[in-house]
């Protein structure tokens, strides 16, 4: 994308193949693109609902699958509410992929600690598929995931699948428990008390709601993670995706071009990061 001959504002079409209900507020949409489309894990797209609006999402599927891709969407505003009413066969528009995703080449020979919450697991699932693909080159992968209730936990089958994979381990927590819940209780950051990390060989990846991003990062710093070893998904209002409209500015950065993945030391001195 982004060659000089292309119209940077014009989307290409994708057809909705399947809708998967993940939780009362979150659905995964499987799209088949009309033309070749590939992305790197952590890069995002602008998804257009014709005549209604456009919003940024990071695909939640594996970048290794190129004939279709998943987008996991939480009902959070005007556009996403309309998207939740879509049925298979619907045609949407896509621009992208945009931005700087996860630098997985830097994760080689590392242990990866992932802290995620709510719909923030969407970009992480895409990352996890890449980490599974390169697991021989990794030390270990620990996924800590928090949701409000057991019902709000998305990708339910993913956790048991991951736990079967050598070097992979998952921990889950909920804010509000129910009678069947047997895992942790409390906000996502409490899970960090239950992980063993070798700080000299570890990187942390954080993706979730802003309050979790903040307190998760503070906790990781407290645990001794170096600032440049904490990878944050600083999702903002990325509207054009091109570093032009200005709506996603994070201090001097355009999140859509310079991010959305940043290390903590890259953003810590910018104003209003949380």
């Amino acid at each position: 994308m982004g060659t000089k001959s292309e119209n940077i504002y014009k989307p290409f079409k994708v057809t909705l193949e399947k809708v998967i209900e993940e939780s009362p507020l979150i659905k995964t949409f499987v799209f088949v693109p009309e033309r070749e489309f590939s992305f790197k894990t952590g890069e995002f797209i602008e998804l257009t609902l014709d005549g209604i609006g456009e919003a940024p999402f990071t695909p939640s599927s594996s970048p290794l699958v190129t004939d279709r891709f998943d987008v996991t969407i939480m009902k959070a505003g005007y556009v996403t509410e309309k998207m939740h009413k879509l049925e298979p066969g619907a045609v949407l528009g896509v621009r992208g992929p945009y931005g700087r995703g996860y630098p997985i080449e830097k994760f080689v020979d590392k242990e990866i600690l992932i802290l995620s919450g709510g719909c923030g697991l969407a970009p992480i699932r895409s990352l996890l598929y890449m980490l599974i693909d390169m697991k021989d080159k990794l030390r270990k992968v620990t996924l800590c995931y928090g949701s409000k209730t057991p019902e709000d936990c998305i990708y339910k089958p993913l956790f048991s699948e991951l736990n079967k994979i050598e070097k992979f381990k998952t921990l889950r927590t909920v804010d509000l428990t129910d009678q069947y819940w047997e895992e942790h209780v409390g906000v996502a950051t409490v899970l960090l008390d239950h992980v063993d990390v070798d700080l000299s060989k570890a990187v942390a990846v954080v993706c979730g709601p802003p309050v979790m991003m903040k307190y998760g990062t503070l906790k990781l710093l407290e645990m001794g993670f170096p600032e440049n070893m904490i990878y944050l998904s600083m999702e903002k209002n990325m509207s054009c995706g091109l570093g032009k409209c200005g709506r996603c500015m994070l201090g001097g950065y355009f999140v859509c071009r310079d991010g959305p993945v940043f290390t903590y030391d890259e953003v810590k001195d910018q104003p209003h990061i949380w």
């Binding site: 982004g2 000089k4 119209n7 940077i8 504002y9 014009k10 989307p11 079409k13 257009t48 609902l49 014709d50 005549g51 209604i52 609006g53 456009e54 919003a55 959070a76 505003g77 005007y78 556009v79 996403t80 528009g93 709601p209 802003p210 999702e235 903002k236 209002n237 509207s239 054009c240 091109l242 570093g243 032009k244 409209c245 200005g246 709506r247 996603c248 500015m249 994070l250 201090g251 001097g252 104003p271 209003h272 990061i273």
Partner: protein
């Protein structure tokens, strides 16, 4: 070496008239107290205002319309000549061109307009109350991005071409005096006026910090000054709208996967709000400071070009009478 041509104003007016058939010509016309660009018809030509700072709207409005469909191919229209562009607005193109005509994510709509427009820059032979281009290393006469420059002096137009596009246009004007001169061969009065205007600007703005000093002061500022000035701000966004380098926009969806780019301003509430309700610039004070950070730190750092050309329009446009320069002087006291 640049060649300068001198011809009588009446001859220049005639030459300009001959161009009206093949170009849409815009030039500053004074209506009451307002000087602004107008689409020129033959009867306007004698009334074009030269060498006077500065049209109310900045040059960017020709390249970035307030609202534009950026998916539908733009209609071919007659090429444009914009006459009487002050140096401050020409300098703003350093940033705008880097921003919209970068190799990656090239904006065809901006580029098409830029390429179809001949810019005739004009010396400022007087100053406005809030002009401060010299504080930021600029001069009050065209030095960058003009295709042609013009100065009207003692009933004569002094004209020079600075680009192939400018040369091509001048070649069409058959009335040109063939005796080209270098700047030093011109009657001394043009160089005298340039020095005089520059001195006036320097004197008027002697307390104003230069660009780097401003950047440093904004970075190291205390919150109190932003609180104080933001108290008067009403978030109308006039400062950004009228700024020659402010380009933030909103993309609006239209049926048929069309998108309309509408100029926007970081001063408006909700500018950075996300669907979940997060809004890093929710407080007016944050939005207010953000604009100064953007002008004096963010944009220059990222694009290696100044983002305030000292035109002073934001001061004139502010309905709350916030004077950016007073703020900056106070900041560096």
């Amino acid at each position: 070496m640049t060649s300068y041509y001198q011809l009588e104003k009446t001859a220049w007016d005639k030459a300009l008239t001959s161009l009206l058939g093949s170009f849409r010509v815009f030039a500053p016309i004074l209506r009451g107290k307002t000087l602004d660009y107008e689409l020129i018809k033959e009867e306007h030509i004698p009334h074009i205002v030269y060498n006077t700072p500065k049209p109310v709207v900045p040059l960017k409005t020709f390249f970035l319309p307030v609202k534009e469909n950026v998916v539908v191919e733009p209609e071919d229209a007659k090429p444009v000549i914009i006459l009487g562009v002050p140096a401050c607005d020409l300098s703003a193109l350093d940033l705008l061109d880097k921003f919209f005509m970068a190799e990656e994510y090239h904006d065809h709509y901006y580029e098409k307009r830029r390429k179809e427009t001949v810019l005739i820059g004009c010396d400022c032979h007087s100053t406005n109350k809030h002009c401060h281009c010299t504080s930021y290393g600029l001069n009050p006469y065209p030095e960058n991005n003009q295709d042609i420059s013009i100065s009207m002096l003692n009933g004569h137009a002094i004209i020079s071409a600075f680009s192939p596009r400018g040369e091509a246009l001048l070649a069409r004007i058959t009335v040109m005096d063939p005796a080209a001169k270098t700047f030093d061969e011109l009657p001394g009065s043009l160089s005298d006026i340039r020095s005089k205007v520059k001195r006036e600007l320097e004197k008027a703005n002697r307390l104003l910090p230069n660009y780097q000093e401003t950047t440093d002061a904004v970075i190291n500022s205390d919150r109190a000054i932003w609180e104080k000035y933001a108290k008067a701000c009403v978030s109308c966004g006039a400062c950004a709208t009228i700024c020659p380098t402010c380009t933030c926009f909103l993309l609006i969806d239209r049926p048929g996967f069309e998108k309309v780019r509408q100029l926007d301003a970081c001063q408006y509430p909700g500018f950075e709000r996300t669907a979940g309700g997060e809004d890093p610039l929710k407080k007016l004070e944050y939005r207010f400071k953000n604009r100064y950070m953007c002008k004096y730190l963010y944009r220059p750092e990222k694009f290696d070009a100044i983002a305030c050309t000292g035109c002073g329009r934001c001061i004139e446009a502010c309905i709350a009478k916030i004077n950016k320069n007073e703020l900056l002087v106070e900041l560096t006291k």
